[in-house]
């Protein structure tokens, strides 16, 4: 079992739709939870991160973490064609000298105009 499992997609939605992207994780020691966006042939870029259960909002994006069920989500409101990309959940663990980001496999999102 992978440490981070992500709904694989691909996902295709009409412009203006609400998008829900989801991941589960297995290691309760994970400390920070983040969402990255990756455009084709580019490196991932950080969208949002949080370390506590609950919701964190940034514009049209809301990250949600439920540590009790080891579940993280990203919601995109009023989706735009420019949101079309691969979305990666990632979880950070710092232990001793280790500093590791563990990524999900990514969900490819297409927002149709």
């Amino acid at each position: 079992q992978k440490e981070v499992e992500q709904d694989p997609g691909p996902l295709s939605v009409p412009e203006g739709a609400i998008v829900s992207l989801n991941c589960t994780y297995s290691n309760s020691a994970f400390q920070y939870f983040m969402w990255y966006r990756q455009y084709s042939r580019k490196g991932p870029e950080l969208l949002m991160y949080t370390y506590s259960s609950g919701n964190k909002e940034d514009g049209r994006f809301t990250a949600q973490v439920d540590k009790s069920s080891k579940y993280i989500s990203l919601f995109i409101r009023d989706s735009q064609p420019s949101d079309s990309a691969t979305y990666l959940c990632a979880i950070w663990l710092s232990s001793g000298s280790a500093r590791q980001l563990t990524f999900g496999s990514g969900t490819q999102l297409t927002v149709l105009p």
Partner: protein, 116 residues
């Protein structure tokens, strides 16, 4: 300012050859990471440098892979006796000095390695 740069952007090599991939981190970033991303997968951690030393190399798949960062800035990932299974995008990221708390990692565009 300039972001993380990686060279070459593409590398095609033959099975059994040796390759070097270079990463130039953001100036002032003491932490540097290498990841490997296979098609349709998320990045997979390989190695983390704090300054010149490899603080965590637990992600290196085998002894054919080696990375250095001799002056605490530029890093080189070295792969010996390449295999077709090494074909992937190799990503480099850098961040400010890390403690227990997370510091944002800034990724380069990657080097696409193809082993024929």
């Amino acid at each position: 300012g300039a972001g993380v740069s990686q060279t070459p952007s593409n590398k095609v090599t033959e099975k059994g050859k040796y390759v070097e991939l270079r990463c130039d981190p953001i100036s002032g970033h003491t932490a540097l990471y290498w990841y490997r991303q296979s098609l349709g997968q998320g990045p997979e951690f390989l190695i983390y440098f704090q300054g010149t030393g490899a603080a965590d190399d637990s992600g290196l798949p085998n002894d054919r892979f080696f990375a250095v960062r001799p002056e605490g800035s530029v890093s080189t990932l070295k792969i010996q006796r390449t295999e077709r299974g090494d074909s992937a995008v190799y990503l480099c990221a850098s961040s400010l000095e890390t403690s227990v708390s997370y510091n944002e990692q800034f990724f380069g565009p990657g080097t696409r390695l193809t082993v024929l």
